[in-house]
């Protein structure tokens, strides 16, 4: 499933697969005021999970200190071209998205 708020790439590089993920998200800390002078409520991605062919490989918990439009690279051993990497994120408002991508040759 492709979603417009995530970009992903998974490439075989020698003996590991490198996965790059970019998520469109404000990552508001809850400490900044908007144009109306009111505090903008904290709004941030709290959890990221990644699977390789359905098997969990990464579980990340994030606070508000991850930059706006979060960027993440991770590396997988035991992965090959054609394997499927899925990444899911969940934010503190309960919104979430999942994207799957097949490993390509780097």
């Amino acid at each position: 499933m492709a979603v417009d708020n995530m970009k992903m790439r998974a490439q075989l590089k020698g003996d590991y697969v490198e996965v790059k993920v970019l998520i469109s998200h404000p990552m508001d800390t809850g400490r900044k005021k908007g144009d109306d002078g009111e505090l903008i409520p904290a709004h941030f991605v709290q959890l990221i999970t990644a699977t390789l062919n359905g098997l969990p490989v990464l579980e990340a918990q994030w606070g508000t200190g991850i930059s706006k439009n979060p960027y993440l690279t991770f590396r997988l051993r035991n992965a090959k071209v054609g394997d499927v990497v899925a990444v899911t994120w969940l934010d503190n408002f309960g919104a979430s998205a999942t994207q799957n991508i097949a490993v390509t040759k780097g």
């Binding site: 590991y16 800390t29 400490r31 900044k32 908007g34 109306d36 009111e38 409520p41 709290q46 959890l47 999970t49 990644a50 390789l52 098997l55 969990p56 490989v57 990464l58 579980e59 990340a60 918990q61 994030w62 606070g63 508000t64 200190g65 991850i66 930059s67 706006k68 979060p70 960027y71 993440l72 690279t73 991770f74 590396r75 997988l76 051993r77 035991n78 992965a79 969940l90 408002f93 309960g94 919104a95 979430s96």
Partner: protein, 144 residues
């Protein structure tokens, strides 16, 4: 603003229930801690050992603390997780990454820094914790 919050609240209520178990994983105590020690207690870190096998790569100086790219890696076998903490941020715990099934203890990510501080990385290996840090000079607060 109020109406927007109300609508967002409704959306959250609708979406959050099936994801509640997933959301419960989030370590509220550690992430909301305002002091480094409290964050580490929330992570149940005790007795860190400084190790050159924990690598923290980041620029020496960041013009804008809103985006500081950091690469972290553990060369210690059987590393289970890596944590990133910035002591002088309003909430020091930035991220906690757990690896399994062949994921390398290696991450590149971009973080916010409020002011000049160490970026501290802690690796969990069994019941032991190994740590290393890299100081980054920050010219502009990126934690607004």
């Amino acid at each position: 603003m109020q109406r927007r919050n109300f609508l967002l609240g409704l959306m959250s209520a609708a979406l959050v229930l099936p994801l509640q178990a997933f959301a419960d994983i989030w370590n509220k105590r550690a992430f909301e801690a305002v002091k480094l020690n409290d964050a580490e207690q929330g992570l149940e870190i005790n007795g860190e050992i400084t190790s050159q096998d924990i690598l923290v790569s980041a620029p020496d100086m960041a013009e804008n603390g809103a985006i500081v790219q950091v690469e972290i890696r553990s060369n210690i076998p059987n590393t289970e997780s890596l944590m990133i903490l910035v002591e002088k941020n309003p909430t020091p715990l930035i991220a906690h990454y757990k690896f399994s099934n062949g994921a390398e203890p290696f991450i590149v990510t971009r973080i916010k820094m409020a002011e000049t501080s160490d970026i501290k990385v802690v690796a969990k290996v069994g019941n032991q914790y190994f740590t290393n840090a890299k100081n980054v000079v920050v010219l502009e607060n990126g934690c607004g």
